[in-house]
């Protein structure tokens, strides 16, 4: 067989470390499906709420290429290696050995700090598609080379770049120079590995961009780590461009109209929100929309998570909110049942979830 001899490591790559990290954060309170949907970036109330609840919303949608079988086999491996164990409820928890391995692994390969899946969402993908095609196009145009094969196949992106270029008053040469001037300082701020990865990924008139695997080989890194470092650069760029639009005149245009809602909530939640804003109470919304009350409650929790100004007072009295929060914080728990049992008075699971949504990251 084509197998290469390799010393068996506990965690084989960065993606695995990330999965283990998710298991640790979720702490056996959700099934593996939760982690799967999180990495895929599923826009369901459950996934969005959980990602905030467990403090892992930066991982939201950052590895959409994950598949279930792969995830299951990684977790199976963790169990065999003693890094995780199966709980009676069929969920998984990280063992002491797993914790140690995590600490060890992230010391060696620090988690890319700018990665923020929740805030950036699909903007990252769109930004890269536009930027890479823009650079390829300019690189060909300034050399007067026509008729190249665009590296991005999405016709929407192609059309967008065409409009972008024809909409600029600058000559192509000047546009190239202007982009360079904006890109250089951004790249100077990331690590040398990261900027090499970024440039290697680009295609020009002279060469085709490299795949993650090829870059990994060239820089002697591991493939999934290359991927996350790349995402890190992209997210870093976007965060900076957004906060100082006047400094990045030409790059900031690339973020315009990127398909992400300012408030990334599900469509259904948005509809519910409109009703609530009009003073309709949740039972009535359920009746009007022909949905279960519990579904509307899911929407409300989601709104509390995504909008820090969302008013929860119609559902929750201040004293109750404080009591629930203090139980959760002092006992370091997010288990609804446990919190309910410790309460002096009475509260619904909905109310407890609402508090957890508000205080999630402090717990």
């Amino acid at each position: 067989m084509f197998f290469m001899k390799r010393v068996k490591a506990m965690v084989d790559n960065f993606l695995e470390a990330l999965i283990l990290k998710c298991l640790q954060k979720v702490n056996g309170e959700r099934s593996i499906s939760g982690t799967y949907h999180l990495l895929k970036g599923k826009k369901s109330s459950q996934t969005i709420q959980d990602s905030h609840l467990f403090g892992i919303n930066r991982f939201f949608g950052i590895y959409p290429n994950i598949n279930r079988e792969e995830l299951n086999s990684v977790i199976q491996k963790f169990v065999e290696n003693g890094l995780a164990k199966k709980l009676p409820n069929n969920n998984y928890a990280v063992t002491a050995a797993g914790m140690k391995e995590l600490e060890h692994y992230f010391k060696k390969y620090p988690f890319p700090v700018h990665v923020n899946g929740w805030d950036i969402q699909n903007t990252g993908v769109t930004f890269w598609k536009r930027l890479s095609l823009l650079i390829q196009t300019i690189s060909n145009l300034v050399r007067k080379q026509k008729g190249f094969y665009p590296i991005q196949k999405d016709p929407g992106i192609q059309k967008w770049i065409k409009n972008y270029i024809s909409g600029q008053k600058l000559s192509r040469q000047d546009l190239g120079a202007a982009l360079l001037k904006e890109l250089l300082p951004l790249l100077e701020e990331v690590s040398s590995q990261e900027r090499e990865i970024f440039v290697l990924r680009l295609s020009s008139s002279k060469r085709t961009g490299l795949t993650y695997a090829q870059i990994a080989q060239q820089l002697n890194l591991e493939e999934t780590y290359v991927y996350f470092l790349f995402v890190n650069v992209i997210h870093y760029m976007i965060t900076n461009i957004k906060s100082e639009k006047n400094l990045y005149k030409y790059l900031s245009i690339l973020l315009e109209g990127a398909p992400v809602a300012e408030k990334p909530i599900t469509l259904s939640t948005h509809t519910t929100y409109q009703y609530l804003l009009n003073g309709v109470d949740k039972e009535e919304v359920a009746r009007l929309r022909n949905l279960k009350v519990s579904t509307i409650e899911d929407h409300i929790v989601e709104l509390a998570l995504t909008d820090s100004h969302f008013d929860t007072s119609p559902y929750l009295q201040k004293e109750l909110e404080q009591e629930i929060a203090s139980i959760a914080i002092s006992n370091q728990t997010r288990k609804l049942k446990e919190i309910k049992e410790r309460l002096t008075g009475n509260a619904s699971y909905f109310q407890i979830r609402l508090v957890l949504a508000r205080y999630g990251e402090k717990i």
Binding site: F2, G147, K153, A177, L179, L183, L202, S204, Y212
Partner: protein, 505 residues
Amino acid sequence: MKLEAYLEKHFGYTQFRDGQKETISEIMAGNHTLSMLPTGTGKSLCYQLPVYMMNKPAVIVSPLLSLMQDQAEQIKVRGEKRVVSFNSFLSFEEKRYALNNLHTYRFIFVSPEMLNSRQLLAGLKKLDIGLFVIDEAHCISQWGYDFRPDYLNLGPVRKQLGDPLTLALTATATPAVRSDIIKELGGDEFTEILSSVDRGNIALKAEKFSSYEEKEQRLLTLVKQLQGPGIVYFSSKKTAETAAAFLQTQGNGRSAFYHGGLEQEQRILIQQQFINGELDLICATSAFGMGINKENVRYVIHFQMPMQMESYVQEIGRAGRDGKESAAILLYLEGDEGLQLSFIERELPAINQVKGIVHYLKSKNASSGEEAARLLQKDDIGALFALNEIQLRIIQHMLLSLHDLQDLKLIEAEMISFVENRKEGKVKKLRTLLSWIHANTCRRELITRYFHQKIQQKPEQCCDYCGIDLEGFYQKDPPENPAEFRPIFDWKEELIEMLVPGRNE
């Protein structure tokens, strides 16, 4: 004006390739045409030129998104702007715009699923369609190697469009598949243009092994000796990956793997690197090759046998499109067919799955085939009965062809016999390919005979039975030290060079 004059005027070529002129003449004479032209001989010219000559638009149905994109792109790169592709990539606004301006396009590409759209169909009906083109037409035949249930809709669609002049294109189709194509398209009379499936500049060889290690070593030797660029085909993604890694550690730096499991952008990069000559070797599954225009592929190796002769001919046909001498080598280890047998099993629904589905429909009181097919879509049945997407589509298609569901017992029997027939047919085809591997006669003759054709002339480098000299395909001066994958680079210099060339100096 003669056809050649049109060719030169619009494309700048002075000569047609094999089969192009014959096909175009038939179309211009107003005859429905089925054209079997080998891959890479410019099938798309057969509809492009008539569009300009008739000054009427062509509607082109293409089975694969990537294939459609590539063809549309190639036409655009030539400078033609009046091209549109209707596929899932189009946004709502773009689709609306394209629909409102349908009459302005010369080339309208559509995916078969898109033809289910009433709006699009209504728009197409208003056009004076010059030519209705079905690319990869063998996909319409359930006996073809790449059956796509969506294609079965093309017959009815064609009728709705008022039987436009039709061109069905395919690279490899047996007589049975060809008659199936014509039947499914509505039974009109079709002129068949059949160029030979034989590619005289591709030498054929099959080698047999008794152990995996031996075969693997042979692969290593071959890719080291043979003049590239080359493609090695594998049946599984995993093997393609591990083999690529193995070859790389053995000094084949300029190689990569390609399969459908890779993210789209990574796939495009590999494809582009190979076309641009930045890679010499691709370890791939059958997902690689469709729509890739690369003239100078010098060899195709099959590390595992394909499922049937049609796929084999299609895959080796990616070698030597420039007409220069190339080699096709199949490496066979006893039992290799087992993998393909298991694929056949997986592609078709099992008997008990069919029974389960029928039972389910009974419980839901489905009254018509259409309703039943819809039920299967809505209820996430795939997961429930452990059916994969292809299996589910096959079942849905069978249901759609039924008018009423009165006698479910009968339907169950029909479905089971369909599945069994299809399985049997596939196994038979696999056996035929297997016997080709073991044959003690001219391989070229056997291939042409399979398609009911004859060889015009045997080339010098024919096959391992007639005798070939593989050394003729070796690299003239093999590099002593394979170069580094890529030289060390300076990120800044490189970025400057991309955007402001010349500033570095």
